[in-house]
């Protein structure tokens, strides 16, 4: 039965920050790496911008979504991942607590942003996905990134 829906459904990568689940369109993700490398701090940058890393010879800025969303920074553990997203020609790493799975969401299981309120990360919301009672906050990557650029 899913066959018909697959074409319309979008695939999302689900990751966790604190107790919440977030989703990013999988088409925007170029890779996920374990946080086992040093992040080089860049001076004179907002706190959530943790610094830069070397990803196969390319210098990529990395930001902490926790700090971005006003959560407290935590200690990185073996669950911590950096999701490298690619928007146009810009690659950016997002540090998340852990990566859960890939889910498919279609129009029926997605609600637009206007129906929800009270989220901390509201500014960066694109919608909310519901899946078997789970609530997955879908992020608008462009907004996360563009706001950054304006801020800096």
């Amino acid at each position: 039965m899913a066959d018909q829906n697959i074409s319309e459904a979008k695939k999302y990568l689900v990751f966790r920050l604190e107790d919440d689940e977030f989703g990013i369109e999988i088409s925007k993700i170029s890779t996920i790496i374990e946080k086992d490398m040093d992040i080089t701090r860049v001076p004179k940058q907002p706190v959530f911008l943790k610094g830069v890393i070397n990803l196969r010879g390319e210098i990529i800025p990395v930001l902490s979504l926790r700090l971005k969303f006003g959560l407290a920074d935590n200690v990185y553990d073996e669950e911590t991942r950096i999701i490298i997203v690619k928007l146009d020609d810009l690659s950016i790493g997002l540090i998340v607590d852990s990566v859960a799975e890939v889910v498919e969401l279609d129009d029926e299981t997605t609600e637009s942003v206007s129906n929800i309120a009270g989220e901390q990360a509201l500014d960066y919301l694109k919608g909310v996905g519901k899946l078997n009672g789970r609530i997955i906050t879908l992020l608008d990557l462009e907004k996360i990134v563009i706001l950054e650029e304006d801020a800096s």
């Binding site: 040093d38 860049v42 001076p43 004179k44 070397n54 010879g57 210098i59 810009l90």
Partner: protein, 687 residues
């Protein structure tokens, strides 16, 4: 047919040819009688015409065709070279450049046609015809096609002394000279192609020493249906005739042996134009030879092709990136821990080091472009600007073969244009004033490039009025930038620095303070973005000189690695002046700025730990502190660091646009351990 694949080549070659046209025209303007230059211009115009025609750019082709007609008349001394005429040729060049620019952008030459120019050009030719009685009309006088009609009798060609000599010499060697007139079938469509075949056929057994009309005209189909050549051959008359007659569309071949031993050949007329004709004949001869070698396409013939390959710059970038990766890995190998460093290991590493260094040098060399590619548009610009201003300015360029990395070359043009225009506009005084001051009326601007260590220096100097420091000082006060007292205390150098400030440059455009200031901040910003510096030396009444210092390459640099807290930073080695140890007692505070005395001068110092907000407790005042003294232009600044790691060859990597706003960092590099170290922006920090 799909031409797009040739478009790139067309554009590249057109640019080259237009450049060479530009140079030749400038030379012609200086030296109107220079025949080789004229020939070169003709050749280039002809080549462009052929290329444009092949690509179907008819307007370009038409314009060059008209140019060619005029140039041809010039070569035959039918019209005279005047300043106006050179101007028109320059305008033609501009039009051609316009077409090319259009082609680059849109793939077609655009709708603008150059009818006006063409009209002027044909007007010039009409003038020629008007007093054509005086001018030796070679082609008509010698072989008037109509006059021959069906009679089959061809008049003798006019031979000049040079040709007569050749014929006589040849006769001594047992060669006969023939005058061959070939008449083509009236229905012949590709006359020039047919003529080409006839030439090739003749060349099989003979040497062509003259042709009327000349080869150029035959190629361009500027002949009716017949042409005459003089050949030297050992072959039998009949054999040649037979060969020629076997070519399709040849109606008639008339051969006549030329037997002349006497020096004063009967044909010698128009003694005055003899020299010109000789040159013409020589040029034609060369062309015949060239044609023989290059039968592919008579239109796009090139006299020589060097052993060069055109490579897309992107491919070179890929190559450079790979070399960069290699260097990073090499460094990593050197730094590997826990390996037994046997002699073999050390030797292998050293060998690898040598190879990577050489490889890097080689790749960098490939990317190097002589500054000439930027400089060569300046003579024209100076010419135009000085005319516009009614000044007489001479541009003297030297060191044009100094090489810079392609990426630098691409960026350096605009700042230089700016400085040159400035010199022209505000540096060089008006003619009358110069006269009054006892200076040569013709102002001089010098553009010099040379290598200095790991830098390339470009100097722009003029012998104009120099910068009036006091006026600038006044301006600083007037603009409310500083109080009168403060301004009075500024050194000459500090005053001049104000000219590079953005607030200053937006000032009234043509200022009386020798006008320097319009956009000098733009120049400075651009040069500094390239990792370079700008300095000025000026003397009132004597002139000013701008020094632009640029790094040879942007990609791979020698750097000093330092530790600040737990963080590693790189400082470009070329800006490091000295590393010294100081004690806390040496640090004094002047106006809240920490300074030390170094070699009898007071230099400001910065604690990098604080400036860069490095986390961690600052270590209690050590007994000895390490101070890295960097120089920015002539100014020294000291950076206090925690530890010196050492010198290393590093590969600069862009931080990307996401972090492009970071002030104190220029770029980053990847260290041997795979981690990223940031490269400090010495200029920004020292400010």
């Amino acid at each position: 047919m799909d031409m797009s694949q040739y478009l790139e080549i067309f554009i590249e070659e057109s640019k080259e040819h237009l450049q060479s046209l530009n140079q030749s025209l400038l030379q012609l303007e200086k030296n109107p009688g220079d025949r080789p230059t004229l020939n070169e211009i003709f050749r280039v115009a002809h080549t462009i015409k052929g290329m444009a025609g092949t690509m179907g750019f008819n307007k370009m082709s038409k314009l060059t065709h008209d140019m060619e007609n005029v140039l041809h008349a010039l070569r035959n001394d039918e019209i005279e070279i005047t300043a106006d005429l050179v101007d028109i040729l320059f305008k033609c060049l501009d039009a051609l450049e316009g077409y090319t620019a259009n082609i680059v952008e849109t793939g077609n030459e655009g709708s603008q046609d150059s009818k006006e120019l063409s009209d002027i050009l044909s007007g010039l030719l009409a003038n020629k015809k008007a007093d054509g009685a005086k001018a030796p009309e070679q082609a008509k006088a010698v072989a008037p096609p109509d006059a021959k009609g069906d009679s089959g009798i061809t008049s003798d060609l006019v031979l000049d002394q040079y040709e007569t000599n050749i014929i006589n010499k040849a006769a001594d060697l047992g060669n006969n000279a023939y005058q061959i007139t070939v008449r083509l079938n009236k229905g012949c469509l590709l006359k020039s192609a047919r003529a080409f075949i006839i030439f090739k056929t003749l060349e099989r057994h003979s040497e062509i020493i003259k042709s009327v009309p000349n080869v150029q005209d035959i190629e361009d189909e500027k002949f009716d249906f017949e042409f005459t050549v003089i050949v030297l051959t050992k072959a039998d008359e009949e054999a040649i005739k037979k060969d020629l007659n076997s070519i399709a569309e040849v109606d008639e071949v008339i051969m006549k042996m030329i037997k002349e031993k006497n020096e004063a050949a009967p044909g010698i007329q128009a003694e005055e134009t003899g020299v010109a004709e000789q040159m013409q004949a020589l040029a034609d001869l060369k062309q015949v030879v060239a044609q023989g070698q290059n039968k592919t396409d008579s239109a796009s013939k090139k006299t020589k092709t060097g052993k060069t390959v055109r490579v897309d710059i992107d491919r070179l970038d890929v190559l450079l990136n790979l070399v960069s990766e290699l260097i990073i890995q090499k460094t990593r190998l050197e730094d590997l821990q826990g390996i037994e460093r046997t002699q073999q290991y050390v030797e292998a590493i050293e060998y690898l080091e040598r190879i990577t260094t050489n490889l890097h040098d080689a790749v960098m060399k490939v990317r190097m472009v002589p500054v000439e590619t930027v400089f060569n548009r300046f003579p024209r610009m100076i010419r135009d600007v000085s005319r516009e201003l009614g000044k007489e300015v001479e541009l003297e360029m030297s060191g044009v073969d100094t090489e810079l990395d392609r990426t630098v070359i691409d960026e350096i043009g605009d700042p230089l244009i700016h400085l040159l225009r400035n010199s022209c506009d505000h540096g060089i005084e008006p003619r009358e004033l110069r006269k009054r001051l006892g200076k040569p009326e013709c102002g001089k601007i010098e553009l010099k490039a040379y290598q200095d260590g790991n830098n390339v220096v470009i100097e722009v100097g003029d012998d104009g009025q120099g910068i009036n420091v006091d006026k600038v000082r006044q301006k600083i006060v007037d603009r409310g930038l500083l109080s009168r007292d403060m301004a009075a205390n500024l050194s000459k150098k500090d005053i001049i620095d104000y000219l590079f400030k953005p607030s200053f440059s937006t000032a009234d455009k043509i200022t009386d303070l020798s006008g320097r200031g319009v956009g000098l901040d733009v120049v400075k910003t651009k040069i500094e973005a390239l990792g370079g510096t700008v300095e000025v030396e000026t003397e009132l009444g004597k002139g000013s000189r701008f020094f632009i210092r640029l790094p040879l390459t942007l990609a791979i640099i020698q750097a000093l690695l330092v530790m600040v807290g737990e963080e590693k930073y790189a400082i470009q080695l070329s800006s490091v002046h000295k590393i010294i140890n100081i004690t806390p007692g040496e640090i004094k505070t002047v106006q809240k700025q920490e300074v030390i005395t170094y070699r009898n001068s007071v230099i400001p110092i910065l604690r990098l730990r604080e400036v860069l907000d490095v986390p961690g407790e600052s270590i209690a005042e050590q007994k000895v502190m390490t101070l890295v003294i960097v120089k920015k232009g002539e100014r020294l600044t000291g950076f206090i660091v925690d530890k010196i790691i050492g010198q290393q060859e590093i590969v600069q990597k862009s931080l990307g646009r996401y972090l492009s706003g970071t002030k104190v960092i220029t770029s980053a590099t990847i260290l041997g351990d795979g981690n990223v170290a940031l490269i400090l922006d010495v200029n920004a920090l020292a400010n």
